[in-house]
């Protein structure tokens, strides 16, 4: 087991390095660069000589391998450099933008899970067939709602019409209500879908029939036997959905005017703000890797069969 964990961490580091290198190469391949975008902008009105001096000062035209080596070395030291567009250290940008995104993503995910589990169980436990059908078709509806539209509708209704929550200058928790709702809806849909499928499938398995024959109640069946089995694939998807969460955050943060990694990424991509993008790519990759590692390590805890196999194989 120890060996397995170390192996996975080694893999993770490899993934991080690959993400760093790939993003560096891709960003270099784009036309133009951050210095050009920043200083050729009409707000400065600089002459060719002046721009060339600035390019030399930022060493943007130096050898690409030298640039790569320098950036990698600085990253290993923990120095992310400066954002050329915003004129502040990248670490300061991350420090102001990480916590709100983590809070938003964390709460959004928690609410999404709650929503998904409720939908899934209601779709098999609800009293009437039409009601069960309704809950079963809910995920398809939720996934087809555009996040952008949902966000604007929630603001228009709850903030501008009913005036229940303020969008401008809200309190720390007030600011989260609508964005969390916006983010949770599209994340909950695929989770609910998978849970519903699994519950349906597992209910037809022979061991359920056995349990039922032994006199287990429907509720006990669902919680004790079905749920534990149904939750595994959902967990895998949950890991993957993290990416969706980040993508959703871009839209949510823009519409609600929240600061966060999503908005930061959007701006940095637009301006090819290299140091900001590299930092975001590496941090997102790290988060992805960490979450998937956590999911993999959680499997054996949930499923005893995997516990033995992991132990035997590694």
């Amino acid at each position: 087991m120890k060996l397995y964990v170390f192996g996975r961490i080694g893999q993770a580091l490899l993934v991080l390095w690959a993400a760093f290198t790939l993003s560096f190469v891709l960003l270099q391949a784009l036309p133009g660069d951050a210095v050009l975008i920043k200083f050729l902008s009409p707000d400065f009105g600089l002459s060719a000589d002046q721009i060339n001096e600035i390019r030399a000062a930022y060493a943007v035209d130096s050898n690409i391998f030298v640039q790569y080596g320098r950036t990698l070395f600085n990253f290993l030291k923990g120095d992310f450099g400066y954002s050329l567009q915003a004129g502040v250290p990248v670490s300061a940008q991350l420090a102001t933008n990480m916590p709100p995104t983590l809070r938003l993503a964390g709460l959004g995910f928690a609410v999404a899970v709650l929503l998904a589990v409720s939908i899934a169980f209601l779709s098999s436990m609800a009293p009437f067939a039409w009601l069960r059908n309704l809950f079963q078709s809910l995920p398809s509806l939720l996934i087809s709602v555009p996040v952008f539209w949902l966000a604007i509708m929630l603001i228009q209704i709850f903030s501008f019409r009913l005036r229940l929550v303020s969008v401008i200058n809200p309190g720390p928790w007030e600011s989260l209500v609508l964005p969390v709702a916006t983010l949770a809806v599209p994340i909950s849909a695929p989770l609910a879908q998978i849970l519903i499928r699994n519950i349906d499938e597992i209910r037809t398995r022979p061991f359920i029939a056995v349990a039922r024959a032994k006199g287990a109640s429907e509720a006990r069946l669902l919680w004790k036997h079905v749920a534990r089995n149904a939750i595994l694939p959902a967990l895998t998807i949950a890991g993957v959905l993290f990416g969706e969460l980040v993508a959703g955050a871009v839209v949510t943060e823009t519409v609600f005017g929240l600061n966060g990694i999503g908005g930061l990424t959007e701006k940095a991509v637009g301006n090819q703000d290299l140091s900001v993008l590299q930092a975001i790519v590496v941090i997102s990759a790290a988060a992805f890797v960490a979450i998937n590692l956590a999911v993999d390590l959680a499997y054996p805890i949930l499923d005893p069969r995997l516990r033995n196999r992991a132990g035997a194989e590694r």
Binding site: A86, G87, Q93, T96, N97, R163, V167, I168, N169
Partner: protein, 542 residues
């Protein structure tokens, strides 16, 4: 369902504004105090003063820094501010400023001749070690001299008649020595910008919000303003709200007091509820499309003339804009210095346009698109994000040109591709142009090869230009920037306008305003000469 309530709110709004008008007559003594919430569309970037051209930056710098001189936005005359008086020698190479005594930066250090000298040394020459670029408005700068603690003198290598106005712009805001000692990369942090203005940056969450506080000891506003002493407001809260509908909705729902950037199609719903639209003119080169004659497709004057004649400004303005967007009647705005009306050079005449294209040898091909020697008349332009509805304007022009058999591709593209392609006349034969500045120098800024080089002449940043350079145009532009005699200088501005239209280099569309909206109780909003807000005299009547 919508129709009736709209009418109702409209009439209520009218009623409200009517009663309001009488109320405001009774109470026009400014009320002190209060917090003001201002919604910005975009986050500020680097706050090095010469980067103040970017509107979000200018909107902040204008509150926290003062300038040597004040350009009266109504008369465009230069009036005293930090400088009580000044002298300019006959050929505009030496400027002496007498400073107001007792002015301090918000960190307590004195704003004296040494500080002012250091500011213009930096703006005029740049600072390579700190990567600070030079300012667009300070041309031919040589050096400064501190004559005594309150007298500073500037020397120029060549006549620089635009410098006096240049000291009044946001890009020439005076900042403390500690701010100028920081490298460029750190000036995006608003708390590090120490000025002497009526407001001070109290706190900021980068990319999200900024809080300004009034300076209680402020007593050096522009000398001729009625309002003297500290600002009326206690606090201004800037909040970045990029989504248009959220900004407008928040204003109407009472969650904000003032917003920047409101599109023409949203004006009606704001005014219907008794809110005010402010659309100050930017007083510079009009919102225009320009041609890059280095591209063989638009090298022929007849082709450019034809394309200019085929642009229907009335249709563009009535379809996309409102009364706040006046139709262009010259290269520069009718509120700009040196404006000459040239309506007869800006006619809409599609028949003549067709005839000119026929003459130029572009004949309709099988697909309806004109061609000459197998070269199709297909042009390309990028939309310009800061300009109002730029994409829609270009698409409408594209439709107008299509009737003539000319195709215009409108590209969005990422910032990098745009910057690179805009330097290549073969890729972008057409471009969007516009600059705001209330000085004749603005025409040179827009078209001169070593400045913004809108026509992409040889001698600029681009290495893609093969031959195109118009020496006659450039000599007129040089005359504007260096002629010390005011009358002769204005004559050069008139010549430039006529020449640019005679050569059909530029097709001015409309006079671009900056659009803001405010709640009815917001009083005393002022704009500097290029449409950036000043909140110094704002007060809340509620």
């Amino acid at each position: 369902m919508l129709r009736f309530p709209k009418l109702l709110t409209l009439s209520l709004g009218l009623l409200a504004s009517a009663t309001f008008a009488t109320a405001s007559l009774a109470a026009d003594t400014p009320v002190k105090g209060g917090k003001f919430t201002y919604l910005e569309q975009q986050a500020h970037t680097n706050l090095y003063p010469p980067a103040g051209g970017f509107y979000p930056n200018g909107g902040i710098l204008n509150q926290i820094t003062d300038k040597l001189t004040y350009q009266n936005p109504k008369t465009l005359e230069i009036e005293p501010w930090l400088a009580l008086s000044w002298q300019v020698n006959d050929n505009a190479t030496e400027y002496t400023f007498k400073l107001r005594p007792g002015v301090t930066f918000s960190d307590g250090t004195p704003l004296d001749a040494a500080a002012v000298a250091k500011n213009f040394d930096t703006f005029g020459l740049g600072n390579k070690a700190l990567k600070l670029p030079v300012s667009e408005v300070v041309n031919n700068y040589d050096r400064s001299e501190v004559v005594d603690p309150l007298t500073v003198k500037f020397y120029f290598k060549k006549p620089s008649p635009g410098f006096l106005q240049g000291t009044s712009v946001i890009g020439s805001g005076i900042v403390s020595l500690s701010t100028l000692a920081l490298p460029f990369e750190q000036l995006g942090d608003a708390t590090k910008i120490i000025g002497s203005g009526p407001f001070v940056v109290k706190a900021e969450t980068i990319g999200k919000s900024l809080s300004l506080q009034a300076r209680s000891d402020y007593n050096w506003g522009p000398a001729k303003l009625d309002h003297q002493g500290r600002a009326y407001l206690d606090e201004i809260s800037y909040i970045i709200t990029s989504e248009d509908s959220v900004r407008i909705g928040a204003l109407l729902a009472g969650q904000a007091d003032f917003i920047r950037q409101i599109q023409a199609y949203d004006e009606a719903q704001v005014e219907a509820q008794g809110f005010t639209i402010f659309a100050p003119s930017t007083r510079g080169v009009n919102n225009s499309i320009v041609f890059r004659p280095d591209n063989p497709l638009v090298a022929d004057l007849k082709v450019r003339k034809a394309l200019s004649l085929a642009v229907n400004r009335d249709e563009i303005i009535s379809t996309l804009f409102s009364k706040n967007y006046p139709k262009a009647t010259s290269v520069i705005a009718s509120t700009a210095i040196g404006y000459v009306p040239l309506v007869d050079k800006l006619q809409y005449d599609p028949e003549k346009a067709e005839a000119l294209l026929d003459e130029a040898g572009f004949k309709p091909g099988a697909d309806g698109i004109r061609e000459k020697d197998g070269q199709k008349l297909v042009l390309t332009s990028y939309e310009s994000l800061p300009q109002p509805q730029s994409r829609a304007v270009l698409q409408l022009i594209g439709q107008q040109w299509a009737k003539l058999g000319v195709k215009l591709n409108v590209l969005a593209g990422d910032a990098g591709s745009k910057v690179v392609d805009e330097l290549d006349p073969l890729k972008t034969p057409v471009a969007v142009a516009m600059v705001g500045r209330a000085d004749p120098d603005v025409v040179k800024s827009q078209f001169y090869p070593t400045n913004r080089n809108a026509l992409v002449q040889k001698g600029g940043v681009s290495d893609k230009v093969k031959t195109f350079a118009d020496d006659k145009l450039n000599s007129i532009l040089e005359e504007i920037a260096s002629q010390p005699d005011r009358e002769k200088r204005l004559k050069a501005v008139a010549d430039a306008q006529a020449y640019l239209l005679d050569q059909a280099y530029s097709v001015p569309i409309f006079e671009e305003p900056q659009a803001f909206a405010g709640a009815p109780y917001v009083k005393g909003v002022a704009f500097e000469s290029v449409g950036r807000p000043s909140f110094y005299s704002v007060w809340l009547d509620k």
